[in-house]
């Protein structure tokens, strides 16, 4: 049970750094098109911490959908493009654990498929520079308190890739614990997949829907007003059902919660409490 373990409130960063970091953002394709707010929130949090953020306009996708669906050869040009775009980036941060997992778990094998030693070297050079957003905050920057305020009941869904591939463990919870006013509520069967799985949700729509029904039941039973995670893809899936069932539970990427602060008093935040009215409901949060 996720919440049964004592959550360590302070840890030393694994790579302590006193200086500011120049961060290149990777905003995954579906975040770019469907959930721009999560990307904006990442920018706000990182800039509030004083870091310089850049966004390389040529970026597209990590290739996960193609790879996981079995279109292995089609993944290679996408991978090559990614490597080209971020070749000289110092540090890359992505608000998506599944994209980072794609790179860490599969890029080496994909590069080997092409039998190109140069490509393999480029992948090796990329991997130490890429971070999932919450992992970057806690493990790289050593920050747990990002100065956020969010006065809502929140449940955390540990998405499969964040838990079983990146092993983020308590990292997102540590960040949530430091958010002022936030009431973190436990989620039953938290580690069980929501049933998204990319094209699985389409190829096996019925099984995926049945898995989702279980997840949504746990979310509703948790009493949370907002469900958060480090993957917008899972949240899109879960919210798809929460919205279809006309519940008033919303979903928000972890960065969107961390972006809410006393300073901006909700000005910049799509999650600001004063905006919580039915009319902007659909547009506001997913």
């Amino acid at each position: 049970m996720l919440f049964a373990t004592e959550i360590k409130r302070s840890t030393q960063p694994e790579t302590p750094t006193g200086s500011l970091v120049r961060i290149s953002l990777f905003i995954p394709c579906y975040n770019d098109a469907l959930f721009p707010e999560s990307g904006k929130a990442v920018v706000r949090v990182l800039e509030r911490l004083g870091h310089a953020v850049e966004f390389r306009d040529a970026q597209t996708c990590c290739g996960q959908m193609h790879w996981n669906t079995g279109y292995l050869r089609e993944t290679l040009p996408i991978l090559r493009h990614f490597l080209r775009v971020f070749a000289d980036a110092e540090t890359i941060v992505a608000p998506s654990s599944s994209c980072v997992a794609m790179m860490r778990d599969h890029y080496r094998k994909a590069a080997q498929m092409d039998r190109d030693p140069a490509l393999e070297r480029e992948v090796e050079a990329l991997l130490p520079r890429i971070f999932e957003f919450s992992e970057f905050l806690v493990r790289r920057l050593g920050v747990e308190d990002v100065g956020a305020r969010f006065t809502h009941k929140v449940a955390y869904h540990p998405s499969c890739h964040s838990a079983r591939s990146l092993h983020l463990d308590t990292i997102p919870l540590r960040l949530l614990h430091r958010v002022r006013g936030l009431d973190l509520v436990p989620l039953a069967n938290a580690q069980e997949c929501c049933g998204f799985g990319g094209t699985f949700a389409i190829k096996n729509a019925d099984v995926s829907s049945a898995m989702l029904a279980d997840k949504v039941r746990c979310v509703l039973n948790s009493g949370a007003e907002v469900l958060t995670a480090v993957d917008t893809s899972c949240l899109m899936h879960i919210f798809g059902s929460l919205h279809r069932q006309r519940t008033f539970v919303r979903t928000a990427h972890l960065a969107e919660i961390l972006a809410c602060s006393d300073d901006d008093a909700g000005q910049n935040s799509t999650l600001a409490p004063e905006q919580h009215d039915a009319s902007s409901f659909g547009r506001m949060v997913r």
Partner: protein, 505 residues
């Protein structure tokens, strides 16, 4: 040499799963039942909780897991050597070792061995290999009655049902359903549904059979190369009866089940019971070698079954599939299996391991929907006591399936192929993707409801909107927001959010 029986009806997983989820028995899904789904869920949750508790007791669990993986990987690299060593040692102790390339050959061998004894009834211990080669039907055709003695297999056999789990074959049955079955089949109308009463009824029924039947057929958990020994672990003791009471014993075992030495059991007799049933140790651990003295069967045969395994061995990427020790921990933890149970896989081997093993046993010519029967959540890999990276193998097999499809005209013209190829084209270039997002923002308009969501999509995307709304694409993508608000490629003025000229590359 293709196995013809591992994949039963050749039903695609999504279709079979839909019938199981609909929970109404039909001709194609005769065992679908809403209670079945509840039973599967309850049983897997109980086993999983027990497994987690006993695994957590061992601080060295990850070391045992790594050792198990290493031993199995080493054995597979040198399988020819260890099989020949097993054959020599088993033969030395009076056993007869036979080699079967496929299911037909294995059945023929069994019939030849049985011929001089002409048994009317044959005892069976739960054996997946006999399911794999369709042995029971073959024996019935030849006028012999195979009697399953594993309690769960007996329930399946009496109910003319199919196993839904290869460790707990009847986990989809409630005790009420089992009571009704026993009451009818054993003529015991007074029987209660207390587990003790049901076990006692099965014991009464089986005990007579153990004492009167002269031939038994078993599978095996492990073959031991250095001693020529065969190892079976079980919970009931009915297996021990079958191994010791009859005069003739035939053991059918997959060629991958060999271990180099007796000492290797040190690892697997810790990891297998904890993973399979959540027990620290199995109640019955039997190891026998040949036919020593007057103890046990006087005639002992081992049939080493290939049946599609050699080609798996030849594949560097998926060879790890054959490390499997059939603990079924991956089934118990799988969120897909939790929903559908085992019947939806329509295969001897269900769950995540079945999803990679069954299509490979068929040389990727059948059961092609099974590698897609996973959300790649990784729970199976996490619990696997021999660290088979099932998600990785699933993706590898999906790759093979896509290659096969693309090699045909129909496959390359399929909607999926065209969609994925087009997406790959867009994702090689930022401006292409940008243009496509703009196009989609305009094109989605007829589909967007007044609440800002897409509630219906056509074609293959309809599966999504049957149960889920999809947010419409917002008018401004992140890329457009960045272009609008940031003039340079990087933001060196934090908190500045002034509109600026769009940047053109």
């Amino acid at each position: 040499m293709k196995p013809e029986t591992t994949h039963w009806n050749r039903q695609d997983f999504p279709e079979a799963a839909r019938k199981e989820l609909a929970a109404k028995p039909s001709q194609d899904a005769p065992f679908a039942h809403s209670q079945t789904r509840r039973n599967v869920r309850n049983a897997t949750e109980i086993i999983q909780a027990k497994r987690n508790a006993v695994v957590a007791e061992l601080p060295e669990w990850q070391d045992l897991r790594a050792a198990g993986a290493a031993i199995r990987a080493h054995t597979l690299e040198h399988l020819d050597h260890y099989l020949l060593e097993f054959e020599a040692n088993c033969t030395r102790h009076g056993g007869h070792v036979h080699w079967a390339a496929d299911a037909a050959e294995a059945r023929k061998l069994v019939l030849e061995i049985l011929a001089p004894h002409a048994p009317r009834e044959i005892l069976k211990i739960k054996t997946m290999t006999s399911e794999e080669i369709g042995l029971n039907a073959c024996l019935e055709e030849h006028g012999m009655h195979p009697l399953e003695t594993d309690l769960a297999e007996l329930i399946i056999q009496m109910g003319r049902d199919r196993p839904s789990h290869f460790v707990v074959p009847a986990l989809h049955k409630s005790r009420g359903q089992i009571r009704d079955l026993f009451a009818r089949e054993m003529h015991r109308p007074e029987l209660s549904d207390e587990p003790e009463a049901l076990a006692a009824a099965a014991r009464d029924y089986l005990r007579q059979k153990f004492l009167s039947t002269r031939v038994a057929i078993s599978g095996a958990n492990f073959l031991l190369a250095d001693t020529g020994g065969v190892c079976i672990v079980e919970s009931e003791g009915n297996g021990r009866m079958c191994l010791t009471l009859p005069d003739v014993l035939i053991t059918i075992v997959g060629i991958e089940k060999v271990l180099p030495s007796f000492q290797d059991l040190e690892v697997f007799l810790q990891t297998l019971p904890r993973s399979a049933t959540g027990e620290r140790m199995n109640p019955y651990n039997s190891i026998w070698s040949g036919t020593p003295g007057n103890d046990g069967p006087r005639e002992f045969h081992v049939i080493l079954l290939d049946n599609g395994r050699s080609p798996i061995l030849a594949d560097d990427e998926s060879r790890q599939t054959l490390r499997c020790i059939r603990c079924a921990a991956c089934l118990n933890t799988c969120p897909v299996y939790h929903q559908t149970g085992g019947h939806a896989y329509d295969s001897v081997y269900a769950g995540p391991i079945g999803a990679i093993l069954t299509p490979q046993l068929h040389s990727m010519q059948a059961a092609q929907s099974l590698p897609y029967a996973s959300s790649l959540c990784g729970a199976c890999y996490e619990v696997c006591p021999v660290a088979i990276n099932i998600p990785e193998v699933l993706i590898h097999l999906r790759g093979k399936i896509v290659e096969q499809q693309q090699s045909t005209v129909a496959g390359s013209l399929s909607l999926w192929n065209i969609a994925m190829k087009s997406a790959a084209f867009l994702m090689q270039d930022g401006s292409r993707l940008h243009a496509a997002v703009h196009l989609a923002q305009a094109a989605q308009r007829p589909l967007v409801s007044r609440n800002g969501f897409i509630e219906w999509l056509p074609g293959m995307l309809n599966g999504w909107t049957k149960t889920r709304d999809l947010p419409a694409l917002p008018a401004e993508s992140f890329r457009d927001w960045w272009r609008r608000t940031r003039s340079a490629n990087s933001s060196l003025q934090p908190s500045a959010e002034q509109p600026s000229e769009p940047r053109h590359d």
